[in-house]
Chain length 85, copies 2
């Protein structure tokens, strides 16, 4: 059963995951990564790997799927940051 | 009781929350926000407000606290992005 809290959680997960899409698109298009923090994306990418692990270990598939997608987007941004300093 | 999954979840939350600190510091210092996506920080900030709401509604205080901190950091970055386009 979906209560209000669960629905808010789903929308929250959608927003925080989807938010990395416009950043990835902008970074791919402009290759402007000067304002982006390497420390942020290194730590964030590592964190999403752990969230993905946590989601799989606890059979929490919404967490696993959301973080799997976020991980892919964060990896794109991190790769561009390293390549186009 | 803390099992391995819970510990991984805590470290994951710490990393993804803490990762926004170096970005906020870099943005405050350099005021260089050209490479940062306004759409990303708008959607991300909205998402963390929902995560905070979800954490409070479900009495999940680690989620509420982690997202409260992330929200503050994201708001700093968003404010700089809007002010120094």
């Amino acid at each position: 059963m979906l209560n209000t809290g669960t629905i808010i959680g789903f929308i929250a997960a959608f927003c925080t995951t989807a938010s990395f899409l416009p950043q990835a698109i902008q970074t791919i298009r402009t290759k402007d990564t000067k304002g982006i923090s390497l420390s942020m994306y290194s730590l964030f990418t590592f964190g999403t790997v752990l969230w993905l692990t946590f989601g799989i270990m606890s059979s929490n598939y919404p967490v696993a799927i959301a973080n799997g997608i976020t991980l892919l987007l964060a990896l794109v941004i991190l790769t561009y940051k390293i390549r186009y300093k």
